[in-house]
Amino acid sequence: MSNINVTTYPEDKIFEESGYDDHFYEHHHGDKYQSSFIGHYIFSMDHKMISKQFLITGIFWAIIGAAMSVIFRLQLGFPEESLAWLKPILGKWIVVNDAGIGKLAPEFYYALVTMHGTILVFFVLTAGLSGTFSNLLIPLQIGARDMASPFLNMLSYWFFFLAGVVMFLSLFVSTGPFAGGWTAYPPLSALPQASSGSGTGMTLWIVSLAFFVVSVLLGGINYVTTVLNLRTKGMTMWRMPLTIWALFITAIIGILSFPVLLSGFFMLMFDRGLGTSFYLNDIFIGGEALDRVGGSPILYQHLFWFLGHPEVYIIILPAMGMVSEVLAVHSRKPIFGYRAMAYSIMAIAFLSFIVWAHHMFMSGLNPFISNFFVVFTLIIAVPSAVKVFNWITTLYGGNIRMVTASLFAIGFVSMFISGGLTGIYLGNSTIDIQMHDTYFVVAHFHIVMGVAAFFGMFAGIYHWFPKMYGRFMNETLGRIHFWGTLICAYAIFWPMHYIGLAGVPRRYYDFSTFDAFKHFEDLNKFITIAAIIAFGLQILFVVNFFYSIFKGKKLTTRNPWHANTLEWTTPIEHLHGNWPGNLPVVYRWAYDYNKDDREYVPQHIKLNENEVDNH
């Protein structure tokens, strides 16, 4: 606190004169609030600190999840090479033969694939993405002092942390982590004797995810309540930035879909522990018939995908919201079709609940019922196309600043188009019969909800890093990170479409013994090399991130991007309550860029006489 900022900002005067006095500082929580180390950094109830906790925990998991993918890519790209050098890390899961050639144990290959999916979908792209940015942006952009319940907010993080601890422990049990796929279909997940990972590994998996659901629900309840109840004066729903619209709708989807997953998990726990047969029927293990009859594994698939499909929108909507904001700010233009953007978020959210069975076309689903799901699945292309059109139109004719944040936002649009188009193929049940469980599916969902969501997240991190840490990230490293990742992402996933169309199935340990698939050996090598380079580039990002927290270029002004939203009117130094005095009052929407010869007009500036409010 030694270098007190002496710059005076016009907004401080505005807030002092005409801000909204909520009597916040008349209560006694100003001086001593969370002044101890534990209260400030660990069991913090301040939304900005919780946001950093979510982000850094997410980065930790992203490194683990990505490292796992590199290991199984090594197996796929170089099945003949020795992996004995990994023995110090993986121990008994690398089996070294007499000749000194180390092989990845096949059951551990499945464990790696399973954990990669679970970690990336839930811990990184759900908690790490919407957890981070809901916490950071919701109170700051709507003009609130904090979340509706800071205590529940803290619990939300710590339930996530607990889920992480349990999952982390499962990586070290002697029978290995769960290895039946991230969707945990029964019977592999329901019978502890089904495979080595189905025992303790699966028990820890399900306990971890139960904690995770609690975390999502506590967070979501808070986000929705905060957005609906704590907006500052003048911040009507139709003046909210699109980030808030996206995070708000995401939280609603989570609240409605995660409990259904929990129902499915409870039934799975009963099957595992109490001998019921919700999901089990006609099972033979070691030639012996089990006496567990009457259930149906398809029932689990319905419950799982009722969450599972909304889940992909839980992942992508926050990224879409942030991309909308970043693109508008950096192209110095109002977002094109603001209301259409918000309505399409709502339409996508609604449709996400009635398309789940398109993950189950091959499960014996009645073809007439499939038609229903095909139609609604294809309709999702409409709001998605509206969004893509609006992003491109926002960029069109803009005075675009090519900083890392905007590059990633543009990259997001590219990825979303590439991945979205293949979704239209797969949404057709007739084509899905051919494509199901091939690398075409792998390529589709990795591009559209993996890489695209990551690009949205990177755009958000580079854009809001100055708000989070009071410093900038290194631009040169950022650009290397962007261009390298863009090229590698296409180099990894583009060829996968091709081998998928040729029928190469996913989740196979080794293709060298199949005549039909072994001629893709070189392509698999190419993909693996690209994946290793991509991993290295993400490490570069992590280095940049942590280096910049301590040594990055310091922020000298509050609003470095000349943005309109309220978070840039708060002091650079974080303080509890966000604004030192009165709360800002909002007079306009968030996208008055280049309006009436003014380059940007923040939301707290009153309308001039004769000025027409866009909303």
């Binding site: 879909s257 409990p259 039934m267 259930g295």
Partner: protein, 193 residues
């Protein structure tokens, strides 16, 4: 619903955020039970499904939980109107009825069990126990909230402030929700055959 206490202008504009948060949580719980009942319907339609008579204990417990809800509403109204003894007595009554409800549920499960209908007999019995246990788990949560309410009632000086009224309202709404949830579940078990 009476909103007579000293509402400030800001409070009058918007619903109490904590109550709003509770309602969202109730929506979430509803989705969880919706997951169970949907699975129930789907599995029932797939066949291999036993039907059996529902023990009369569950009718008794239905009456008990309705009475408990009414007692709590009476207690809340008395609190708002500043009638201390009515507030305390009916709060305790509501809690006691809630506990007897759970005991009655237990007897109902034992009656099922003695008919030979145990958890593992058939998917239908598994569902029956699962859904009722999940409800009972939420009732235990509600009883904990009632215990906190009773501690407040008997240790704090009686003073119907807005803050305490809002807090009491949270317990009230949750408890009514559990009653309605039980009615829906019980009706579902009786009539979806």
């Amino acid at each position: 619903m009476t909103l007579t206490l000293e509402n400030t202008k800001e409070n009058a504009q918007r619903i109490n955020p904590q109550l709003f948060g509770l309602w969202i949580a109730l929506a979430s719980i509803t989705m969880m039970f919706g997951g169970f009942t949907s699975a129930y319907i789907v599995k029932q339609a797939a066949g291999n499904w036993y039907n059996f008579a529902i023990p009369s204990y569950f009718y008794v417990s239905t009456v008990l939980i309705i009475l408990s809800s009414l007692a709590l509403q009476y207690s809340y109204n008395s609190f708002v109107n500043g009638e201390e003894s009515k507030y305390k007595i009916s709060l305790v009554l509501s809690f006691v009825l809630g506990v007897i409800f759970l005991v009655c549920q237990y007897f109902g499960w034992m009656a099922l069990y003695h008919q030979g209908i145990d958890l593992k007999l058939n998917v239908s019995s598994s569902f029956l126990y699962l859904i009722m246990w999940a409800h009972a788990a939420h009732v235990i949560g509600g009883l904990s909230a009632l215990i906190v309410a009773m501690i407040h009632a008997f240790t704090l000086k009686f003073k119907p402030t807005v803050k305490r009224k809002n807090r009491y309202q949270l317990v009230l709404h949750y408890w009514h929700y559990l009653t309605i949830l039980w009615l829906v579940i019980f009706g579902f078990i009786l009539f979806v055959k």
